[in-house]
Symmetry: none
């Protein structure tokens, strides 16, 4: 799972543009639909991680879209509603129909982004427990604690994210490129072999369990399977 997909359903092109700009800057993949039926179709085919849904749409409005989603029964698409100010009743109906949250227009971009992340975080958390294990290594993302054979190990922020990424992809090879993108962020432009150095430091701190990180020559690194 790389970039998360976010679907914007909004009839005003300006606002779509604005949202796309900011969402992409945050590292999301953006899909757009200008009306209800288009939005439903994309939600169905692309299964976005989140849908930003305008209530006021010509023809099939936001509520109809929500009903359409509910009618399908399949995996739920989280929805963040965009409502115009003062549409009190609307937000009530919307939340009743299964939206996860809503933002009132005109919204501050910053606030919207925060809510987007909040909804996604909730989603993530409900999916995966926060303690990762493999071999003698365990890592608690929420508490930001790492242990080797029960002994706590002090990792720096980068080392922690690196180990977390490897653990989340246990058994799969991670190329230096992939690691740079997820651990360092999409905007990092640097020496690919920086990864090597951090792997080294991580191995040193893991001590006895250093060999859980395998080198895959010519490709990248991988966490040893059980």
């Amino acid at each position: 799972m790389d970039k998360k997909k976010i679907l914007i359903v909004e009839d005003e092109a300006d606002i779509r543009e604005l949202l796309r700009y900011h969402l992409e800057r945050e590292g999301f993949d953006v899909l757009e639909a200008g009306d209800g039926p288009g939005g439903l179709a994309l939600a169905r085919s692309e299964r976005p991680a989140l849908m930003l849904l305008d209530v006021m749409l010509p023809g099939m409005d936001g509520f109809d879209v929500l009903r359409g989603l509910a009618a399908e029964g399949g995996p739920v698409v989280p929805v963040l509603l965009l409502t115009a100010r003062g549409e009190e009743v609307d937000r009530v109906v919307g939340l009743t129909l299964g939206a996860d949250d809503y933002v009132v227009k005109p919204f501050s971009v910053r606030e919207l982004m925060l809510r987007v992340k909040a909804v996604l975080r909730r989603q993530d958390r409900s999916l995966s427990g926060s303690v990762l294990r493999r071999g003698g290594v365990s890592l608690d993302a929420e508490r930001h604690r790492a242990e080797v054979n029960g002994e706590p190990v002090a990792l720096t922020a980068t080392e922690f994210r690196l180990l977390e990424d490897l653990l989340r992809h246990s058994g799969a090879v991670r190329t230096r490129e992939q690691l740079l993108n997820t651990v360092w962020g999409y905007s990092f432009e640097g020496y690919a072999r920086t990864v090597d150095t951090h792997v080294r430091r991580l191995r040193a701190k893991l001590g006895a369990a250093a060999d859980v990180i395998e080198t895959v020559r010519g490709v990248g690194y991988r966490l040893k399977e059980d």
Copy 2:
């Protein structure tokens, strides 16, 4: 155990409807009142497990209701306050007057439900009241009071909310972003390092117990585990 009763005191019928819908879906018995006196009467006669109380009510407002409850002396009814955005002062007054928690409107339904359950859980667990503890630090949300090794400590509103958030997530790392979102609110647009300053002030006031707040370099802050 039969269903728990929850009383909604709120003048807007839409919102009552919304809350009833979701609460019943979660398996609660729902009672409604459209004004303060009605709410008080129902609280008295039905002894609900929890009361969702809007602050802005015509005539007798939420605070008056809280005072009314306090005046009775009898078994306490837990209260979750619904306040409008920006009524900062209200929160403090409300918590001082004995509310257990508050939610800022416009709220996300999911968040509200989580808080409802949190308050009920707290109630179940500790008949002794909603006191959070860790190390030598104890914090009584109901009375808005904090103690270190039995000695009362005077905290400002922000310090209190900060410590409360950390205590509620004991052991988990809270990033500056998360803290800004929950302690300061989504609409706060400001310097992330404001958090640092408040942590510093909090630590200073905690004196001997200052080290219960751990710094997790590159990530955020965390409350020390036992």
